[in-house]
Symmetry: C2
Subunit: 737 residues, 2 copies
């Protein structure tokens, strides 16, 4: 049962949350865990990766495809759906081993029970394909109408994004095409519906949808099953004729039949799990939560394309504009690096590909180099608005500085490229754009920095660190340290290229117009860059200049000041703004990333200082506290943070609002954080210069963890056990290919 | 009638405004224009200059003395006062020529009319003294009780400030003493009440007051007059025994009698007007408004003490914490420099005396030198809170950056010292602290500035300019230019001292530990300091970096977005914050101050660009627009701004709230601005190196302006006339002593 997520009762209040929790996907699209009879009111979404649209002057956001699985049941003239009629029994299941969504609902009618059963999967073997198997079963004979087809009236946060709807009814298929508003990209969906029973079938079009009406008299105690093969293509796909391809994909699937498609899909999942599964013995809840986290990462991994990355809310909808944040580089990349290096490369390649957007952003703000977007969309343009929060008291948009001041994203990109390079030792990464990006990031920071003459140091001013509640701060320890790291790897990259690839080096520096003088400036910048240091007595590192002077109150104090539960805590005058209460790991994140440079005493002092002052209002926070405590050997501190992280999308208890803006959805950064907590935290896996080592400490109750990693083409199996009598933890690292 | 301010009808709604409008004072104290029967509910205040108190953790603010003029009338058992009984006739008068407040109120009672008449003045000849003459007159005989004495239950915004009340009833006097909460400063008031009619008199104490009850049967058609001599002393006075002095002052006044005191007081006023009056022929309203502005400046001038300066709301109450703002240096000092150089010296001396406070503030924020307080109290400490506005929607205090980022105040202090020095050529000003202050201000800016290496320039970052709505901006043109000016005069001061006073120079630089190296740094700082320049095509100077990117909407747009009339427009997310709408003259102020350095084209372009974007939400704004337009010869642009400025305290139509915080009171900066508009604007008076010149242009309807100025001990009479037939304006400058 450690592979099954289940909800055994229908509850209207869980509809939104279950949409996230029971999601299926394949990196090309994510299908929310909604029931077949739902419409946009229940936030049905077939969210497409990398296709964005802007409607008027609203936020740009990803496009949801038409809903090809829509199916509604009418029995003896009465519509039966969970929203219409309270079911007698209802169970919704997500099988994360096979990536399959199931539902089973029973209603009591005057003529006895009526049961609907379905299962569906978003195919891993054909990323354009969704397959549905849906059966109706009645205790007595009755007249049944199954309305099924393609519902193009999709959920949008800032839409509508689709227009120019056109419909086609073929001999066997139905098809819906539409175009996006801004860039006129075609989105097309075809559906073929198969059945093995006789029925009268008509097709009708509505304003935005095309539907079959399948009418038949059901015999008692007989199962009537339909199979739907739904294909989705967009103008962003590389196919020459996407409409034809779309139809071909549905036709091929229909010809092969449901079972064959299912097998192919499950086989792909088996491969994925083979390398990525992590076995936890001793706690079934933790086992499920971790697997579920890995599942979430798998369904959004852009395995099929090197042009995509992963949005902050995965493919669970349009929240956060479907944009790529630093979450990917800092919280998801490690999982992919260790288990799916090609996917990791794709993620990094997305940043290399979108360098132009980062350069444009830097130029816009008067800087040089590459200023990566806070919310990066398809070409690296920043989807972030200047007003990201709505004041709950006035309904007015609130100016936030996420877009212009959260400069640490460029450093995260450089960090990710460098981590990937160290992991893969693949020089092509640097040669094919990676080096250029790193250098452009370093340049950006030089143009952003100021020199404080009377202190003989450079400072990074006016930024937002990971803790977003405190805007426009100076000398944020995390940001400054990351800038330093960027400079370090930029200089190392230059050295490396000069030595190994003198020709490419010359091309690069001449292409970038990078003079020796400019390099010397970067060297001086690095040597005199101010990074806040541990305070002598307390060992605490001040999060930013002036943090120590803020009001030192408790989280409870700050909460008690809220007058509206949806109030935004930060910005101009949120309840946390003038206090020491922070949203998420900031100094602690820095200490984790650069853990080899700080003593355990410093790490411990800062963990203890900042943890009580941290809201963990971001899904990026708890895992970092888990990881740093593992690093200093305090797995008992770490465990509750692991649990919180790994269960975030299972419980759905994360923050749903920033101001009055809905920010719900899945939390891939937390999913990645859960994996990191176990593999890099409890197992203490370290890879240095291609050498694997572990430093395991298992939480209480855990007897074993076992997992695989890929390193430079080799697979390793790591098996860690705790001896129940001696309580000694030992582990093996076994090369298996 | 050009000396009389009058209100001929009682209207409850005017009570607060009339308190400001009919104010009397003498620099030691200001007595609000309230009626004798009023109490703290009607905002009675005898506001004391330079005595501050803090109650708990509330704002520090000036202390109001007990109200020694309190008098309430009871006729035949019925209390008669404007609040109790609608009067039949009521007139309130302020005679600004003599500095006298009068009221005359008639009630209709069952026994016919009852009249109360009073006049009072806050003495210019004894700054501790207030004299009151109050008469009762009834048409029929009736029983009268006059309750009069000292009401210690004073109005406080953030009080109570007085405690430990003690009362004394002497043979002829009554006395009330109390101490302030924070510093335990004694405040004492003595009252002697004289009358020439027989009455039964008792004295009673209340919790915070001591009152006489004067009972008598009034004959019909007979005037019964009492004379009150009220004296106020505090522990801040230099007297050895303030209690004895206080009593002596009242006794002396009582012995001399009302008329003699009155004559001495009026004689002093005559002297004041002799030098400061400005004659305007052709428009009586303008004549009165300007005289009234001068009156306001006279009643708050700290002529008697070189330890005081003038608070931003004069002595009209506790608004703005009774603190000294840059208003004094930039908007009031010119009037005093030209008409009362000793008072001007006192103002400047206040800043020299409080250098320590400015140094402490710099130190607190991690800077060197002198960071003058945004709201300076008695020792230069900053009365400004980190939260200066209350959010009208939540009732929560809003963090503002006035205190920590409005750094231009140090430059205003240096500017004022230098202006005073140029005016007086009195080297002692520099030798006795002025030079030290200027250098410490320059040092402060060096430690505040950052060097932008890739642009090879210093920048002044993270400030608030005069326009307070836009907080934490970079390269505010006004601030940067003022910093430049500070550096300029600091270096000039050093040169001057080195040449003329080598010994004092040595003492100064060694006392300040000012090395040659540091001076070279200041020179480099000055030469590479970035000051925003006129844009090539438009000639407009960007108010700060990024101003041009703000929303360019109209004042009307911004107003239409208000959801509450008391909303604060600026700060974290006020309605003006993200727009180009500014509170007050900013670039235009810079252009006025440095008018010799910019072309008329630049001045005109900026005036035209910024004026429609200026709310004039500060009393410091309209006069600057008037002055700059006079400077470029557009007196028709200037005139309405002069009218607005000069009438601010007469109409009481200025802003009353910042957020939900009451900011009402008088506006000495506007009063000073009105004087500047006429003398430096329309008359075009200029003094360069001791040479007086004029460049007059009179507004339409004005035929003549005539005034005096004092320059370096000499008096000049300037007489400007417009020939009604030729419309030619000519003027004479006549040396009269």
């Amino acid at each position: 049962m450690d592979w099954i997520v289940k909800d055994e009762k229908f509850n209207k209040e869980n509809i939104v949350n279950n949409g996230n929790k029971f999601i299926t996907g394949n990196g090309y699209m994510g299908f929310r865990g909604t029931l077949e009879e739902y419409t946009k009111n229940e936030l049905v979404a077939c969210n497409l990766a990398g296709l964005y649209d802007r409607q008027g002057d609203k936020w740009r956001e990803p496009v949801n495809a038409p809903n090809g699985i829509f199916t509604a049941l009418t029995v003896d003239g009465k519509e039966l759906g969970v929203l219409r009629e309270e079911p007698l029994e209802h169970v919704q299941v997500l099988d994360i081993m096979e990536g399959v969504h199931r539902r089973n609902t029973v209603w009591k009618t005057e003529k006895g029970k009526v049961t609907i059963k379905s299962q569906r999967f978003v195919s891993l073997s054909d990323v354009h394909l969704i397959c549905v198997k849906l059966s109706v079963f009645t205790e007595q004979s009755c007249e049944v109408v199954i309305k099924t087809g393609i519902d193009g009236d999709v959920w949008d946060i800032n839409g509508p994004h689709l227009e120019n709807y056109s419909f086609e009814k073929g001999e066997k298929y139905i098809k819906l095409a539409a175009t996006t508003q801004e860039l006129k990209v075609t989105v097309v969906s075809a559906e073929i519906c198969k059945r093995s029973f006789a029925a009268q079938e008509t097709v009708e079009e509505s304003e935005k949808g095309i539907f079959r009406y399948i009418r038949f008299y059901a015999d008692p105690m007989t199962e009537y099953t339909i199979y739907k093969y739904v294909s989705v293509y967009t103008g962003n796909d590389e196919a020459c004729n996407i409409v034809a391809e779309c139809l071909r994909s549905a036709q091929k699937a229909a010809e092969e039949g449901y079972e064959k498609n299912y097998e192919a899909h499950v086989a792909k999942w088996k491969d994925r799990w083979d390398i990525s599964d992590v076995l936890i013995e001793g706690n079934d809840d933790d086992q499920l939560a971790l697997r579920y986290s890995i599942y979430q990462l798998q369904i959004i991994a852009p395995v099929h394309s090197d042009k995509l990355s992963i949005p902050a809310r995965g493919l669970s909808g349009q929240t956060y504009k479907g944009a790529i944040f630093w979450d990917t580089e800092m919280f998801m990349l490690p999982f992919f690096l260790h288990t799916a290096p090609e996917a990791a490369m794709n993620l990094v390649n997305y940043r290399i590909r979108t360098l132009h957007g980062a350069r444009e952003k830097a130029k816009y703000y008067g800087y040089k180099g590459a200023f990566y977007a806070w919310e990066s969309q398809e070409d690296g343009q920043d989807g972030c608005s200047d007003f990201n929060v709505t004041d709950v008291f006035t309904g007015r948009p609130v100016k936030t500085y996420f877009k212009d001041k959260q400069v640490h994203i460029s450093a995260a990109v450089a960090y990710a490229i460098w981590e990937t390079y160290k992991f893969t030792v693949d020089d092509r990464l640097l040669l094919k754009g990676g080096a250029e990006v790193i250098i452009e990031c370093a340049r950006f920071y030089y143009s952003y920095a100021y020199f404080k003459e009377d202190k003989d140091r450079y400072e990074i001013l006016d930024v937002i660190g990971p803790d977003e509640y405190h805007e426009r701060v100076n000398n944020n320890a995390y940001t400054s340290k990351m800038v330093y790291h960027t400079l370090e790897v930029a200089l190392e990259t230059l050295d490396l290229l000069l030595k190994k690839y003198p020709r490419e080096y010359s091309q690069l520096v001449s292409g970038l117009n990078l003079s020796r003088e400019e390099v010397l400036k970067l060297i001086k910048f690095k040597s005199k860059l101010y990074i806040p240091q541990p305070e002598e007595k307390t060992l605490v590192i001040e999060q930013f200049s002036g943090y120590n002077a803020l009001e030192d109150c408790t989280l409870k104090d700050v909460k008690s000041r809220l007058q509206d539960p949806k109030e935004y805590w930060g910005g101009g005058h949120g309840v946390a703004t003038t206090t020491k209460i922070i949203k998420q790991a900031d100094v602690v994140l820095m200490l984790y990333l650069f853990r080899n440079e700080y003593s355990d005493e410093v790490k411990k002092a800062n963990w203890q200082y900042y943890e009580p002052r941290t809201e963990h209002g971001s899904s990026l926070s708890p895992c970092i506290y888990a990881l740093l405590s593992c690093d200093i050997g305090n797995e008992e501190w770490a465990y509750p943070f692991f649990v919180k992280t790994a269960n975030m999308d299972l419980t759905g208890e994360s923050k749903q609002f920033a101001g009055s803006i809905y920010i719900g959805g899945t939390h891939p950064a937390a999913n990645g954080g859960a994996w990191m907590s176990v593999i890099l935290g409890f197992a203490g896996l370290q890879i240095n210069d291609g050498e694997i080592s572990i430093k395991p400490e298992l939480p209480e109750g855990w007897n074993r963890i076992a997992f695989k990693v890929i390193l430079r083409g080799e697979k390793y199996f790591i098996d860690i056990r705790k001896n129940s009598t001696t309580s000694m933890t030992t582990g093996d690292i076994i090369k298996i290919s």
